[in-house]
Symmetry: C2
Subunit: 877 residues, 2 copies
């Protein structure tokens, strides 16, 4: 139940984090490799678990074991509980297997009582110090262990300060502090109902129980939830002899990282304060000095610290975050743990440690948190600049990055003002495909409704464009071109900055930093590529995006949406005419006009991706998404088409649907309007032949969306093949032209009947966005009205549109893979939903045997890294 | 390849329908039991299959076999092909295993040529008759076999009629008919390019091929599609010696049913025509005489016919539909087959045949087409009255029945005019929950958009209210209160009749017949109840519906929707206030007002269903469905609530969703607004306790809709149980009060994770409507834009909302049953979607082991019958 650490004996080591907690395991480890650690002992996490199993009662025998260990501690330190001569003081700290900073309780100076305080005064020769330590104990103990309101102690302190007419705590003289201890004891007695316990063992027992209790406070549970910490038994309790950094100018305390946690540079990086306790460093009242200046204060201690730093890095083979205290010139190590770092630092440290032969490539790859790579790739606000920013709202971090611009309230306005040389943010309640042109042009996108997978969020992520979505406090009046936030009104001349990684909306401009890709990043990517089995493709609709993704290592396009192509100025008119045609002849005429545009688009993408596969998805959204919904635009279109406004509105209304997501879209369009499919396939095949003639190795794959039955795909495949044959004939192309024809698996029924569908498919690509929508019955556009409660009530561990729901949706993916491959052994399998760039989802996709994942360009490196990590994790099992 | 039937020998029998077709098998059967059948032979359906397998070429050896059989036929009849003395004439008819009336081709009088016609003239002593037969052959042969346009023959006939200055065919004299044969031969030669074939064997060969070809015409394929006829090999070809009913006044022809096909009465029922051919009876030019009058014309023939009728019923043990011809006083049977009958007749015949010991109970039950029972239960238009009706539109037969009323264009109007004593039909583009009150009040519902499972259709079926949906040609102007159909305008004073079984919309009133439930019906139901394992419950929301369903034999309520209860005049205001509340306190106040209404509703239903389980579904639809969407209603509500119209509109807009079907509804409401669930559960429990105190055995079951995860149900179950405990305590109720708590399985994820969900559920009820929507990704409200093409292109065999898609959705149902029962062996399983009353779906639900199906009241008897049939079918295997 209890593990001792000290000079005389150390029971545990750093491998026992589950049992001893991170802090306890590392104290034991440091102790056993001879570092100067104040001795103490750790009560295991199993004891905490037992405490809860036995309805919150202290396990039998625990206090006996504690007493034994206290005796060992007394022997080793020569100090004793309840002693006037040389009193033993201890700290009592929590420490779970996973760090939960600030979440659980700590009691310092335990062991002091009316007798021992006098002993401490004598030994230190500093009575004020001794009583100050005592009043801190009474306060902390009352607060943490007995639940006395902190305010009550504050009020007592204020009285004393008033009496001595001082403002700062530190200005209260010795007799004031002594009086304060008495006053605090009164407060304690008044609130608790009994006197402050004078027996140190009794103090200790209650403090240990308080730490156990702190494991299950609401805020601790919430913290574990948010950080998805599961599978822990409880917290350990570390009881350790006190050392004091505030015993005078020969004492001090500090924290340090063994390397720079922000850049990763191999440079000792830390701060210390003379004559101070750890909490002073954290509280930030006094400004600490950099560690490198320590040698001027105490050369020996500084040298010893450097030496320990090296020992720790050599020993742990990772960057450490350490805490230390100097008591009267003697250095003590209080904590060491793996240091948190930025994405850039993670990359640099990993690569340099390989060079320094501290770790190997495998360890390096496993050590970089894939998600953190976004920081390496996207611009962000300078940390300093942000510190003073006025954050007026926080939305969802929909698409990372940082953007600053004046406010624009419609897509047209964005296009116009950008052409006039302004940098503008598009601010909308929500976006729709009509807005795509403006969204692409804007420097960033800010919406007041919609979730992480709303239209704005999905499109923006695809482009790597910064987006904050669902900032609900924004009241946007698009007509008046104003946005009101908590009573403050902003207009077209105002500037906002949005942080797509945090969801913050900031008034005014904030300085941005553009990251440069380091050689280390390239090195890591190369290592990853050596190990991974999964291919990584990208979702890209334009040559520009395709090119960027290729630079990030994309090995093809897994999803090229064709609908965005129709929104550009010169095409949307014909698209609308096509949709509003009432006869096949009219429709075909409009499609003939659209054909050259599509062909040119495809040629551009094929060129950018030459030699690599490009999966083109045929038209997917419901047609009415392309139609104008505002009266002015409708009027203009009606005039252009020479029909009445009323007729046009009737058509628009006729095409509207109750539940467009479940309506006339995807392959259903191709079934009812075969000429749309024909035009698109024609454009693809003509573009391919044109490229091939110019020696550009175009490799298209045709993907038919929203298939639910084998019969749909069989029919559309036949139509598609017919067009391919026709175009080859017309173009007199006699070369080999094998264009795979496959389907999205995004309808549950398709997943359930994949065995049959595979008979007529060359590949499957899982559309996990729609598959998640339908499997859960959640509309991505509407989920925000209840998702927050679902996360709060722990009904869902996480937004299923961000991380694949392996339990439910994953079953369908797995079944589809198994059944599809049972029909066709070499069926190519990929995924092109938003989950293709989510680390934990990528792990799942690897495990079910997909051939590739496809994700937005900026997530390609993440997917490459994770794909390697999962292989290495499997190998290490 | 060829099966002979005749006096000398008969190869086949009635068990060989698959091979010989229905007609061929029955001709063989009649022949073999000694009935007077003109001899002939049948070419098997396998030959037809072979014809298509060999790319439409006549199988080898076929014509040799045909020649052999012709020789046998010649021997038996003493007649010969191509003979002047006694020419053999044959009919060539198609005949598949399943009857496809009028769909395939027939050639009569085959064998006639320029020589044989003279022979026929001599034998019959009637030259005009012989040449009339010849011209009919040339016409029919040219039309059916060679594809000559019928109009060309008509034109030639007209010339002759002009020449003889007569109007009727029958008035043309002999020499005119002779001249007509020559003229027809000219027409034939001109269109075909060669002369009319004089060789009877050649005639026969081409006619046989023509019958094969008629199997795959578009209209034949379409017919099979519509009637869902699959698995057939092709058509058989029946070649049979001709007999003539038009050889003079001692000849005749007729059709008859061995019992009355309309009522089922055991009374010979048929018609005959003297000196006529079969086609004359069908064409309806002359009025046939009832068979009972036949004895006055020819006593012997009549007696023989009665004798044959009895033989056939004894032999086939079912009501027969027969065709006969009398040639010069001699009776010939040309066809017998199982007779089509109405639902009422099916019931009566089955019961009476059991009494007559012709069949047993099992056979009787298996013989009644369950679907036809609707006719027995619902009012319908009198057949005679309908014959003269002006059908101006045909929509979908959304809810069977017949209704006549003046047109009303809004729900309010319906309520008001009904209160004023009018009978009105509600005519709307589509309906929404706002209209429910008016829908319930109207005599019938007619919509211009929406499918078989649109809101109007589902609600109407639930009530057994007549509804025609999606009558697209209706242009409804609700403001002006007019509906325009093909240019004709109708208003509030006009009367329509709608036939919910055919989808017809008729101008004016049509006489209706109200069926009375016969004792036979009760007998059948009692028999069914003896055999079935599945329980049958009903979907009912009101005491009235509950009572009616109970009379139809419902064994409980499987789905009691609570949302309709909120639409009544006195409640909707409080409901709207509840929804628009911006604080929990306001919301709770409104809910307190709603509580007594709900409690009273439940008490009424519990009373109506006393002793039987009542499954109550908690609030399901998105809240905005309850809000007023028209300006006037919004204004009124805003005034009532003392807020501005703008504020109200904002709230309404804020609650609207992109895809409400996938939005904030079902249990998601209970998660975010726990107080709604609490009010509803409170009302249920209080109503139960009140009933129990009055010795009414109320048996509620609480059903939580739209569950997708175990965690949702666990949380809501806990909240529900808490309310039950609270109410018991407040009401001081100490008796036993076990209220099962279960869930709908309607979200694919719930079906996929049923093992876990079953841990916290007492029952599952499959919501196959939503499950179908989500598994296919089809919105019921929007499906009509593509479903017709899907059926046309054979992508779907049938609307999956009408018949359960066993291949896809069925997989989920089955998996959920298996996994649910693996967790909890006695988990109660039911289904309450629309499919609960569809015969083929009920068969499936039986097979996967559900405990009950729940369907609309009028479908309860259907489900009872099918549930018995499936058991009997299984036993007979």
């Amino acid at each position: 139940m209890v593990y001792y650490f000290g000079r005389s004996r150390t029971d545990g080591d750093s491998s026992q984090k589950q049992l001893l907690g991170g802090k306890g395991a590392n104290l034991a480890e440091m102790s056993s490799i001879g570092l100067p650690v104040p001795p103490g002992f750790t009560i295991t996490t199993e004891v905490c678990e037992g405490y809860y199993e036995q309805k919150q009662s202290m396990p039998k025998g625990l206090m006996d074991a504690v007493r034994d260990n206290v005796r060992t501690l007394e022997k080793e330190t020569g100090k004793q509980f309840d002693s006037v001569d040389n009193p033993l003081l201890v700290s009592v700290r929590s420490g779970a297997a996973v760090s939960m900073p600030g979440m659980m309780d700590t009691v310092l100076n335990l062991g002091l009582n009316d007798k021992a305080v006098e002993g401490l005064a004598i030994i230190t020769g500093n009575r004020r110090f001794a009583y100050d330590a005592y009043r801190r104990l009474i306060n902390m103990y009352g607060d943490v262990v007995m639940g006395v309101d902190h305010e009550a102690f504050e009020a007592a302190f204020d009285k004393i300060k008033k009496k001595y007419k001082v403002e700062l705590d530190t200005d209260v003289p010795e007799q004031g502090i002594v009086a304060l201890c008495a006053a605090y004891q009164d407060v304690y007695k008044k609130h608790v109902g009994s006197a402050f316990p004078q027996d140190p063992m009794r103090q200790l027992e209650l403090a240990i129980e308080a730490v156990f209790k702190s494991w299950n406070t609401t805020r601790a549970k919430r913290y574990r939830e948010i950080n998805e910490i599961t599978g822990l038994r409880g917290t350990a309790v570390n009881v350790q002899a006190m050392v004091f950094g505030n015993m005078g100018d020969d004492s001090g305390t500090g924290v340090a990282f063994t390397r720079d946690p922000s850049t990763g540079e191999d440079k000792f990086y830390g701060e210390f304060l003379v004559n101070a306790q750890g909490e002073d460093v954290v509280a930030g009242i006094r400004t600490p000095r950099p560690v490198k200046e320590m040698s001027r204060w105490n050369k020996g201690v500084h040298a010893r610290l450097i030496e320990i730093k090296d020992t720790l890095e050599q020993h742990y083979r990772d960057m450490q975050d350490i805490e230390f205290t100097i008591e009267r010139g003697k250095l003590y190590m209080l904590q060491t743990r793996t240091g948190k770092r930025t994405g850039a630092a993670a990359v640099r440290i990993a690569v340099e440690m390989v060079k320094q032969k501290l770790i190997n490539e495998t360890q390096a790859l496993l050590r970089i948190p894939a998600e953190d790579l976004t920081q390496v790739l996207l611009p962000h606000f300078a940390a300093k600049a942000k510190r003073n920013a006025e954050v007026i709202a926080t939305g969802l971090p929909a698409s990372p990055g940082a953007a600053t611009g004046k406010l624009a309230f419609s897509a047209d306005e964005v296009v116009k003002r950008t052409a006039d040389g302004e940098q503008v943010l598009l601010v909308r309640k929500e976006t729709s495909p009509e807005d795509v042109d403006g969204m692409h042009t804007a420097v960033g996108i800010l919406t007041s409704t919609g979730g992480m997978t709303s239209h704005a969020a999905v499109v923006a992520r695809g482009w790597g464009k910064c987006c904050v979505a669902g900032a609900g406090v924004l009241q946007i009046d698009a007509k008046k071109k104003t946005v009101t936030v908590n009573g403050k009104k902003f207009g077209v001349k105002d500037v906002f900055s949005i942080d797509g990684s945090t969801g913050e909306v900031i008034v005014g401009a904030v300085e941005r930093e553009q990251p440069k890709l380091s050689g280390d990043f390239e090195t890591v990517m190369k290592w990853a590529d050596k190990h991974r089995r999964l291919k990584v493709r990208t979702n890209a609709d334009t040559p520009r995006d395709a090119k960027r993704a290729r630079e990030f290592g994309a090995e093809g396009i897994g999803l090229c949406r064709t609908e965005h192509m129709f929104f550009e100025e010169d095409r949307i008119g014909w698209m609308r005419r096509m949709i509003l045609s009432e006869t096949k002849v009219e429709r075909e005429k409009a499609l003939t006009k659209l054909l050259p545009y599509q062909r040119r688009d495809f040629e551009g993408i094929f060129k950018a991706m030459k030699g690599l596969p490009v999966t083109i998805r045929l038209l997917d959204p419901p047609l009415h998404e392309f139609l104008p919904h505002e009266r002015d635009a409708q009027k203009a279109l009606a005039a252009e088409m020479d029909i009445t406004l009323k007729r046009l509105q009737q058509r628009v209304h006729g095409l509207s649907e109750m539940n467009p997501m479940l309506g006339h879209r995807g392959c259903r369009l191709a079934v009812t309007y075969p000429e749309i499919l024909e035009m698109q396939v024609r454009a693809i095949v003509e573009a391919t032949i044109n490229c091939r003639k110019k020696k550009v190795d175009a490799k298209p794959e045709i993907m038919i969306p929203l298939i639910g039955t084998r019969e749909e795909l069989a029919l559309l495949r036949e139509r598609t093949e017919q067009v391919i044959v026709d175009v080859k004939k017309v173009k007199k192309f006699t070369g080999k032209l094998e264009i795979p024809i496959g389907t999205m698996i995004e309808i549950p029924r398709a997943a359930l009947t994949s065995g049959g569908i595979a008979e007529v498919a060359d590949f499957f690509s899982f559309g996990t966005n729609d598959l998640t929508q339908l499997t859960f019955g959640f509309s991505r556009d509407d989920i925000n009205s209840f998702l927050p409660d679902y996360l709060e009530d722990e009904i869902l561990p996480v937004d299923p549109f961000q991380r694949l729901d392996v339990e439910g949706v994953g079953q369908l993916v797995k079944k589809s893979c198994v059944d599809g491959r049972a029909t066709k052994r070499d069926l190519k399998l990929g995924i092109c939903g938003e989950h293709g760039g989510d680390p934990s989802s990528v792990r799942f996709f690897h495990k079910v045997g997909l051939d590739y994942v496809s994700c937005s360009p900026f997530r390609v490196p993440i997917a490459r890294l994770v794909a390697a990590q999962v292989v290495l994790e499997e190998a290490s099992k």
